[in-house]
Subunit: 152 residues, 2 copies
DNA sequence: CGTGAAAGTTAGAACTA
DNA sequence: TAGTTCTAACTTTCACG
């Protein structure tokens, strides 16, 4: 990926609503040159979409937790993600190397909701859980491509 | 938060580039009524911004890991997030309840980059680390407000 | 990659319930 | 306070050089 593309991706990661006009000014390209590059980045799958960043507290989901998940029956076929996908409180699902099989990042309203969610996770996927409650989030979802130098 | 606002937030969380015209069609409001509500949601901090979703693999940062962090000196004042903020590979930083003090979600290019990053984390914050490598990500960053109904 | 024009979108003023 | 319509300015999109 070129330097210019990297810069465009970085700018859009920080502000997904930047107009092509502004992106052009920031990169020194014309509006349609930027437009073309953005379309190519979208087609290539580098830019996978655009999202509003929601404040979970303001939106009534103030409690975040990380749930580590271990299958009860290690011999059973592992379709755990499929069994959990309908639980909309699960923000992210990571398959991990380590003692446990998966780590879930979940968002709920109250401790009571968390308790209910844990029960549903265990029932849906036949797993045991180990839960780490998040007390505060100094920061989150920072631009992943933040640097253009140290990656490779 | 009202039902209409919830719907708007949900739609924008899924597609942050929806036009007010389309949001209006989806909610049954006029363009400028939606516009007004979105501005209010932005002012109230419910909508904190807009981001492009970057494919980390395509962007050259294919390795994700979760790093649990414990201070070496529990008596020292805890300014760990401040000491780590400059490390751009750290996507999110959670302060957690449990054996460890923080969990970091990081994104790097190679195992070698991860090794380097761990050294920098330990040096910058005077901490020990326990690292869990992410093997795959069945899904990530799903709309947090996903339901307006089934949460409780 | 740039230009320019048509179609579509945003922002805000004036007005209404 | 929350909504509508109207309109000017801006943005996106696309054919062409």
């Amino acid at each position: 990926m070129e330097e210019l593309d990297r810069r465009i991706v970085q700018l859009l990661a920080r502000d997904g609503r930047l107009s092509y006009t502004d992106l052009g000014k920031a990169t020194g390209l014309s509006t349609s040159a930027v437009h073309q590059r953005v379309r190519r980045l979208e087609e290539r799958g580098v830019l996978r979409g655009y999202r509003a960043v929601v404040d979970h507290e303001a939106a009534g989901m103030p409690l975040t937790a990380l749930i580590s998940v271990t299958p009860v029956d290690p011999a059973a076929p592992d379709d755990i993600p499929d069994r959990l996908r309908h639980l909309t409180e699960i923000d992210s699902c990571f398959s991990v190397a380590g003692e446990e099989s998966y780590v879930l990042e979940v968002r709920v309203g109250t401790p009571g909701d968390l308790e209910l969610l844990l029960a549903r996770v265990r029932a849906a996927a036949n797993v045991t859980t180990r839960t780490t409650v998040v007390l505060s989030t100094p920061w989150e979802d920072r631009s992943p491509l933040a640097a253009g130098e140290s990656a490779d």
